[in-house]
Amino acid sequence: MTEATPVQAPQPVIVLQQVGRQYADVVALHDVSLTVPPGSLLGIIGPSGAGKTTAVRILTGGLQATSGMARVLGDDPQRFGRRTQERIGYMPQLFSLYPDLTAGENVDFVASMFGMLFARRRQRVRAVLELVELWPERGRRASDLSGGMQRRLELACALVHDPAVLFLDEPTAGLDPILRRTIWTELHRLRDSGRTIVLTTQYVGEAEECDAVALISAGRLVALAPPEDLRRSATGGDVLEIETASLVDGETLTSLPMVRSVDQRSVRHLFVTVDDAGTALPAVIAAIEASGGEVTSSREFRPSFDDIFAILVARHRAELGGSEDGRYPVSSTTTADGGAA
């Protein structure tokens, strides 16, 4: 079991304690424990089939945990009361609206299901459709909207009743980068206004948008921490990438007090893990030059979140008995839109 502690949790809105879910002989979720404080944004990230949607469905009451305990707003998701349900918004992963209804009718229908009366409904329908930039398309049938528009419509439906807790299963999937930026801005605004948001995403780069990230792999919680802490956890500190004109022995740097480790990739190419890149870089360069080397380039290396998650997952697998070394790759990249390359 991997257990992690949230950043702040005086009165958590969401609690999972050793929650597991098993389908026949397949373990979809294994002993996951986490808490989410109010007014925070938790991103659940992991490879396809990792158990992200299973976790969200357990939290929304769509799926029963086979072990452990889940609480949302203090209630067991299996026995949500109407008042609790009115405070929860949910956006499923798959398109789940009525194709023959227009965009406006779909949002209005969902608002009605949450018991919103006409006047407020009309106001909110317009507000959320404008938010997702679908107000001009309100008269178009949902089936006639593009895939991206349908996702935005679903997001509008999840937001229309102004819920205190939002569960969003891949809300930005299929959206263009500009709209994703808009959505994230709105999610941050919602978070800042006290809403608690749990979302899954396939765009690992979006982890940076979250207050905390739960990394799930093969049904297990690999890590739960703020994004920057995860980065440092993966690399063991700040990483300096040094290239030299001539042969240099990285072992000479290990004697420096601020150096944690040295990864020598070639005779002229080093990765040096230090406590703090800003203060350590001059000392590292001085040490190399003192040993006769000539530094041709030096910079702080910030591995992408794809790399970070690859490292953390590999390390976790190794801890479980695998053979991967958990080193960060040299030539990994992140796509411009934040998606995994």
Partner: protein, 395 residues
């Protein structure tokens, strides 16, 4: 406040269902107009002239009977078209095998002699028919032919007896025709209307269309939601299973009521189907047929795994309705155990009640209203329970 919220949800479900139907008018037309037009065509196109069998009479040589077709016209009953008189049996049988004739009547060789000697003669009737309905009809015609021939023989014998008695000075006041047939039937239909196919089938068509419409629309409506992510959204929302069921029932009852009004109007005004009964009672029947059918459709939708299965089950209901409801074949012609199948279908009771109420002005089987109500309550309650279980988390 809670009442307002529940009303808001119910109205939203009703509105959503009606909008969805309105957005796909083709489906509604094919569900309502399709069967209606087919049955109207059937009623208008069916000329009710009855079956007619091409018949050959075989007069064996030496029988002494006439070989002129005109001499046998008096034996020809309705349903028999006399196409010729032959003397060779095998030629007639060949025609039967080649299906150029339907019935071969083989006259006895020694009719008069047998009668005089006090022996029965046999009129052999042969036919080559695979249809059970036609075979039964041919059998009845053969029996009628036998009765007709017997009557003529008795009449001739009586005339001969009267004539011989007269020559001996004995007179009889009873004519030979009365001796041969002392009674004749004088049928009077006391029904308040003159029966016609359109009149008889009109109320049945109305009941069948209403059931088919309600079952098909509700079966598809809920199964689609169950197997898409819509149910995930509904599950998280405060909407309850009873609100979903009620919303759908109200929506499709409104739709079914409108369809019933249109069909009823067409039947009465365009097809001149009598409407002798109480309007309130007819609408009560229609309402109960709709409620029971909606319950049946919703039940199908909660037990179906897919839209395809829901459609198949709806078609099975339609097929069972056509066979066991009394729509085509009177329900009393089935074994009691099979009649139960028909009794479980709303249309069975709807047909009987609407035919009674519209064509007779009253019904002696008002208990069927109770059966319709029971079907509605049982199916809707079962649907609610199953749906409530479906809305809760998957174990």
């Amino acid at each position: 406040m809670i009442v307002l919220k529940v009303a808001t949800r119910l109205l939203a479900i009703v509105g959503k269902e009606l909008i969805e139907v309105a957005r796909r008018p083709g489906a509604l037309f094919s569900l309502v107009l399709g069967p209606f037009l087919i049955m109207a065509l059937f009623g208008l196109g069916y000329n009710n002239s009855g079956l007619s069998f091409r018949t050959v009479i075989v007069v064996p040589p030496g029988s002494g009977l006439s070989t002129q077709a005109a001499d046998y016209q008096s034996f020809v009953a309705p349903g028999i078209t006399l196409v010729g008189v032959q003397t060779d049996v095998e030629t007639a049988r060949l025609a039967l095998r080649e299906q150029t004739v339907d019935v071969v009547i083989i006259a006895p060789t020694d009719l008069e002699a047998n009668f005089t000697a006090g022996r029965q003669s046999t009129i052999r009737v042969e036919y080559d028919i695979v249809s059970p309905v036609k075979a039964n009809y041919a059998l009845i015609l053969a029996q009628q032919l036998g009765y007709g021939v017997n009557q003529q023989i008795i009449e001739r014998a009586a005339a001969k007896g009267v004539s011989e008695a007269g020559s001996l000075g004995v007179t009889s006041a009873i004519p030979p025709a009365v001796i041969a047939a002392p009674t004749i039937a004088d049928p009077h239909n006391l029904a308040p209307i003159d029966p016609s196919l359109i009149s008889f089938f009109g109320p049945a068509v109305l009941a069948l269309i209403l059931q088919h419409l309600a079952v098909t629309l509700t079966a598809l409506s809920l199964v689609r939601e169950r197997h898409t992510g819509v149910f995930d959204v509904l599950r998280v929302s405060p909407v309850s299973a009873i609100e979903i069921v009620l919303g759908k029932v109200v929506a499709f009852a409104v739709l079914g009521g409108a369809v019933a009004a249109v069909i009823l109007g067409l039947l009465v005004s365009a097809f001149h189907v009598p409407f002798l009964g109480d309007v309130g009672l007819v609408w009560t029947t229609i309402g109960l047929v709709l409620a029971a059918s909606l319950g049946l459709g919703l039940l199908i939708s909660v037990v179906s795994d897919s839209e395809r299965q829901a459609v198949q089950l709806a078609l099975l209901i339609l097929l069972a309705s056509v066979f066991f409801s009394g729509f085509v074949i009177d329900a009393t012609q089935f074994l009691p155990a099979v009649q139960v199948v028909g009794d479980l279908l709303p249309v069975t009771h709807g047909i009987r009640l609407l035919q009674d109420l519209m064509l007779r002005g009253a019904t002696t089987e008002s208990w069927r209203l109770g059966v319709l109500l029971a079907i509605a309550l049982v199916t809707l309650a079962t649907t609610w329970l199953l749906l409530r279980r479906g809305l809760s988390a998957r174990a």
